[in-house]
């Protein structure tokens, strides 16, 4: 896409490029949107904020033609649209980056990006996709390999593919629904640069996010939603994080971390000790320990292997070297089942892929892992189940509080809450939380922080992984730094600034790259192939 091609050609710059009026949408008994208006002007960033289930994604999907509204009108560049679906929306220049990744795993990166807009001659594909991809990447600078199979990419990279796909469409309006939920702060900055470049070309962005700092930084206008209604729309300059939170939640909230529980004494016998652990999925050497009542963080860049360490600890991946000791007992060959029975559980980061059974009710999902506690002679005791689920729904503020509904109908944040609840049901002794607050609104985020702290107070060990490094820095007693599948240092989060942390992580990554260049003659090594062609130091100094 070229920079000068899509300058909007209307007379008045104030005329709306996209105008939604009186949009109402109902799902079964839930009123997701109630007469919502939204006006997007050319060359601007319009942010949507609101707590989980407020209706932001639904509104975005209606704009992009994914859902049909029950009532209300849509007009593009002043003209009211008739039938509205994704094909028509794209033709009119409205595209969406959906909150839940929606890509074709078995196609390549480039094939995904250009899906639906392939260049062809008489229906036969042209072969110069690389050139086209390179031109696109010029803008975004994500540096993805266009011929990599999508399913082999890590989640953060998949999210970049989603972004590229939207950019490739030469759209007038891009709806970005939580585009940065898997991105690091660094990548988020890059995305914001892209957004600014787009608006400079006269394009518009609808930006949905729970990261209120990002919202304030990048947007021109902010619309606050609550319970399917628009609360207010105003200039971002007039808002503060505090004012947004208040409008979203209808109450005030101190957006900080709850006080850390007291750290256990150093001589307390650790619950879990991993020594030089390696796995068949990329962990090369992990050494860490978690004591009862202790919150331990794993800090690393995207793809550093934090998730893989967690997977190996609970037995999803096979441990190939080193030892894992739980309660002073070697675990031997583990499986998620054995870990669970021993009180060691993991909340996975990919809630759709590995977390939830989407077609089943929230209640069934919550009790799945610990069904034994709700059953006798192999039969489920529904009363006991209902009572416990009710407590958790209440505690985690699930909206709507109807756990009997299929979990797929819940908003992203509420699904995340269900995922947490699923593992808390069984009162585990050690919890590994992988990105526990992804897609969760500020209010619920705070609730989850409190929950984590409360767990630790009760003597549960917590191992937390988050790409929002501040979360780890704000909650953990200790943290291990991770790079290239290795834990290489231990830090005191209370005395580490995010900037220092990033510097150390990048430095370690460069070392790892150099080291593997020395050890392997080729560009890959068998355990964790590392491409040595570029270094990050330049990146950091920019």
């Amino acid at each position: 896409m070229s920079a000068d091609s899509a300058a909007p050609a209307q007379s008045s710059p104030r005329r709306a490029v996209l105008d939604l009026s009186g949009i109402t949408k109902r799902f079964g008994g839930t009123l997701a949107l109630d007469r919502v208006d939204l006006t997007v002007t050319p060359g601007s960033v319009h942010a949507l904020v609101g707590e989980n289930g407020a209706g932001k994604s639904t509104l975005g999907k209606i704009a992009a033609g994914i859902y049909t509204p029950d009532a209300g009108g849509i007009s593009v560049s002043g003209r009211s649209v008739g039938r509205w679906d994704t094909v028509r929306a794209q033709r009119q220049g409205i595209v969406m980056i959906a909150q839940e990744l929606s890509l074709v795993r078995d196609l390549t990166v480039a094939q995904n990006v250009f899906l639906g807009i392939e260049e062809h001659r008489a229906g036969i594909l042209r072969r110069d996709q690389r050139r086209r991809f390179a031109a696109l990447d010029e803008v975004a600078q994500f540096g993805l390999d266009p011929s990599a199979r999508l399913g082999d990419l890590r989640i953060a990279d998949q999210q970049k593919v989603e972004i590229l796909r939207a950019l490739a469409r030469d759209a007038k309006v891009i709806v970005m629904d939580e585009p940065t939920s898997s991105l690091t702060a660094h990548e988020t900055q890059r995305l914001h640069e892209v957004v600014r470049r787009l608006t400079a070309q006269g394009r518009s962005v609808v930006y949905v996010s729970h990261f209120l700092e990002s919202v304030l930084e990048v947007s021109d206008t902010v619309t606050v939603m609550r319970d399917g209604r628009r609360i207010r729309t105003g200039s971002a300059r007039d808002e503060t994080k505090r004012s947004l939170v208040e409008a979203m939640l209808g109450r005030e909230l101190a957006v900080t971390f709850p006080p850390r529980p007291p750290a256990p004494a150093a001589d307390v016998q650790p619950l879990l000790v991993a020594t030089d652990m390696a796995s068949d999925n990329g962990v090369r050497s992990a050494t860490l320990a978690v004591r009862p009542g202790e919150i331990v963080g794993l800090l690393g860049l995207v793809g550093s292997g934090r998730t893989e360490i967690a997977r190996a600890l609970v037995g999803v991946d096979r441990v190939t070297a080193g030892t894992v000791v739980l309660d002073g007992q070697g675990l031997g060959r583990t499986s998620p089942r054995r870990s669970r029975d021993a009180g060691l559980v993991m909340v996975p980061e990919d809630r759709h892929g590995q977390g939830l059974v989407l077609a089943r009710s929230m209640s069934e999902n919550m009790t799945l892992a610990f069904l034994g506690r709700f059953s006798r002679w192999g039969l489920v005791d529904r009363r006991r189940e209902r009572r416990r689920v009710g407590e958790l729904v209440e505690q985690l503020q699930v909206r709507p509080a109807r756990p009997e509904l299929p979990v797929q109908g819940f908003s992203g944040g509420n699904q995340q809450k269900a995922l947490l609840a699923k593992w808390l049901v069984g009162e585990p002794r050690l919890v590994i939380l992988d990105e526990p607050t992804r897609g969760v609104d500020v209010g619920a985020k705070f609730a989850i922080y409190e929950l984590i702290v409360a767990l630790a107070r009760r003597g549960v060990g917590v191992l937390i992984i988050s790409s929002e490094h501040e979360e780890v820095l704000g909650l953990a007693h200790r943290a291990h730094l991770v790079c290239a599948g290795r834990t290489f240092d231990e830090v005191d989060p209370a005395h580490l600034s995010p900037e220092d942390l990033l510097r150390r992580l990048f430095a370690a990554q460069d070392d790892a790259a150099g080291e593997s260049a020395d050890s392997a003659a080729g560009t890959h090594d068998p355990g964790l192939g590392v491409d040595v062609s570029t270094s990050h130091s330049e990146e950091l100094t920019r």
């Binding site: 109902r26 079964g28 008994g29 839930t30 009123l31 109630d34 049909t68 609550r226 319970d227 399917g228 939640l249 209808g250 109450r251 609970v314 999803v316 499986s335 998620p336 089942r337 870990s339 669970r340 029975d341 993991m346 996975p348 892929g353 590995q354 977390g355 939830l356 059974v357 989407l358 077609a359 089943r360 069934e364 009790t367 799945l368 892992a369 069904l371 034994g372 059953s375 192999g378 039969l379 489920v380 529904r382 505690q395 503020q397 909206r399 709507p400 509080a401 109807r402 699923k422 209010g443 705070f446 609730a447 409190e450 929950l451 409360a454």
Partner: protein
């Protein structure tokens, strides 16, 4: 944990006010096959005086007992995200084995008992093929059905084994108070199957495996053994069905059961159990079986050209499906 949320504005109450028209539509969608079953039942009662009689209803139930039993277990298989295309072949093996045993031991009970035992063994083999070879059940059971069928043919050399053993036909033909034993067995199996699927831990695991096997695995569900058990159940059901069927016709042959596999799957899906796995119910499969059975019975008791039967059956299946899709925009 203490975040209290006092200032939350009232939310739309969960069951808030869908119109009555919408409610009818939603009902039709969820219970399409049942609705059609009732419609056909009432229609047949009106247009044929022979339809609504105890013996006719009993006949319909009795005739479809083997298929219904297989469909009950098939519900588990499909909910777990798999197919069992080998039910017809397992039926053939079980039939032949029962007949062979009966003629060789002259012990009816022993002979009939071998069917469920063999069924479970074949089902477990299916399950192992699926889980150990990591192959989709469609292909695995298609292959195993070739093998099983061939075994049935080789055992008998292709011919039929007639059974004259005393008491052998009691199971298939006997009744108490006008009700066939077989129908009583079916009712028992439906009750047990429903309990197992909808109220047991195992049933929950079946739903979870079919809905998202990765999530199930991470939750500590023994995914592979759940799968194997489901196939074993299917084999067990086929064995019981075969015992009833062979007992009824007092002969076993390798062609027995031909076509059962697709009929059973069709009945399960027609009832509304999702072919994608993770969603379904035992009663739905029973509705599916008897919806098709009623059409067949109607053709038999009305003087209509039987060549039209398939046409009508096809159209009614599509109607059920269209009804279920009413109001649905996207899948």
């Amino acid at each position: 944990m203490t975040i209290t949320e006092t200032a939350t504005p009232a939310r739309p109450s969960p069951s808030s006010t869908p119109s009555s028209g919408a409610r009818v539509l939603a009902f039709a969608r969820d219970y399409a096959a049942l609705v059609l079953l009732v419609v056909i039942f009432v229609t047949l009662s009106i247009i044929s005086s022979s339809f609504l009689s105890f013996t006719n209803i009993m006949n319909i139930l009795n005739q479809n007992t083997p298929l219904a039993i297989i469909a009950v277990a098939g519900t588990f298989v499909i909910i777990s995200g798999a197919f069992d295309l080998s039910t017809a072949a397992m039926y053939a093996v079980a039939s032949v084995a029962v007949a062979w045993m009966a003629t060789h031991t002259d012990n009816a009970a022993l002979a009939l008992l071998i069917a469920p035992v063999l069924g479970v063994v074949m089902g477990i083999l299916n399950g192992l093929a699926v889980t150990k070879l990591h192959v989709h059940s469609f292909l695995a059971t298609l292959a195993s059905s070739l093998v099983y069928k061939a075994v049935a043919v080789l055992v008998t050399g292709g011919s039929l084994i007639t059974v004259t053993t005393e008491g052998f036909s009691d199971l298939g033909r006997g009744r108490v108070g006008g009700v066939f034993y077989a129908v009583i067995v079916l009712i028992g199996i439906v009750a047990l199957g429903s309990l197992l699927l909808h109220s047991s831990v195992f049933g929950r695991h079946v739903f979870a495996v079919g809905g998202n096997s990765d999530a199930a695995h991470l939750s500590g569900v023994r995914v592979d053994s759940t799968r194997v058990t489901v196939f074993a159940l299917s084999g067990l059901a086929v064995g019981i069905a075969a015992a009833i069927g062979v007992s009824r016709i007092a002969s076993g042959q390798p062609q027995a059961g031909a076509g059962l596999e697709l009929q059973a799957i069709a009945a399960v899906i027609l009832g509304g159990t999702s072919i994608y796995g993770g969603v379904g119910a035992v009663w739905r499969s029973i509705v599916g079986v008897f919806l098709i059975a009623l059409i067949g019975n109607g053709f038999d008791i009305l003087s209509v050209n039987p060549q039209m039967k398939d046409l009508v059956t096809g159209v009614i299946i599509l109607a059920a499906v269209a009804l279920a899709a009413a109001d649905r925009r996207r899948r």
